[in-house]
């Protein structure tokens, strides 16, 4: 899977800022710099998706769809950093 399209990155960027605003989560970062961080995150995911897949035990690697693996990643990362 390639990196997100520019329109999709823009959607994520706008939604992320709305989420911050809803939670009154202060951020001293410009929109431009936030977008750069988002783009870097997407690029990192794209570069390391295969590595993450290889790290999964064979049973999960075979049985889980790509979407399910992404949901698993979100669940663990969210719990680790207090987002979920």
């Amino acid at each position: 899977m390639a990196v997100l399209s520019d329109p999709d990155r823009e959607i994520v960027w706008a939604d992320f800022m709305r989420d911050l605003s809803r939670d009154f989560d202060s951020l001293a970062l410009s929109k431009t710099d936030l977008r750069a961080a988002l783009d870097a995150t997407d690029a990192w995911i794209d570069s390391n998706a295969a590595s993450y897949n290889s790290a999964l035990p064979a049973a999960a690697r075979v049985a889980m769809s790509a979407t399910q693996k992404a949901r698993l990643f979100l669940a663990v990362a969210g719990k680790r950093y207090g987002v979920l």
Partner: protein, 170 residues
């Protein structure tokens, strides 16, 4: 009357939202008060240009010197950068058609946001008499406020929360 005299004041509750891309009503609560004191605000998105509209009649003590809008706002989350605020007037005098008359040209200010989210900042936009659509005393007018989200100076993240606007004689 004199420069600095107040001509009108509108709060978030006075908004007459446009049909689309309207700023979103919200509240900011002070949980230290009992009961919680809830400031009604209008959230202007960081990723899309949104609008609020206010209506009134110009005070008869206006002396023709132009109007300075003072907008009170705070940021939901952003604590660096700026917001680009736009203001436009539309006068509707005797004989004007409210369903066809357009707003006068936008006047703007780029305001640096406070270093702490949730702190109120006042930003001023100045208009000459011509720029207020030549609004005359006693005339009905509509004032449109917006955040130009994709202006180069609008780089603060998150919602801008509009609290109030005062129009003063310049």
């Amino acid at each position: 009357m004199a420069s600095g005299d107040s001509l009108f004041v509108f709060t978030a509750n006075n908004n007459e939202p446009p049909a689309t891309v309207a700023a979103t009503p919200d509240v900011r609560a002070n949980t230290g008060d009992t009961p919680d004191d809830e400031v009604v605000v209008l959230d202007f998105d960081a990723g899309a240009t949104e609008f609020a509209v206010f209506a009134g009649a110009l005070a008869r003590h206006y002396d023709g010197g132009g109007i300075t809008l003072v907008v009170g706002y705070m940021m939901s989350s952003g604590a660096s950068g700026g917001v680009r605020l736009d203001g436009q007037f539309k006068s509707l005098g005797d004989g004007d058609n409210p369903t066809s008359k357009a707003y006068a040209a936008v006047q703007s200010v780029t305001s640096t946001v406070p270093g702490t989210a949730g702190i109120i900042e006042y930003a001023a936009i100045t208009f000459t008499n011509a720029q207020i659509d030549s609004l005359a005393v006693g005339e009905y007018f509509r004032l449109r406020i917006s955040r130009d989200h994709d202006h180069a100076g609008d780089d603060a993240t998150g919602d801008m929360e509009f609290v109030f606007v005062e129009g003063r004689e310049t």
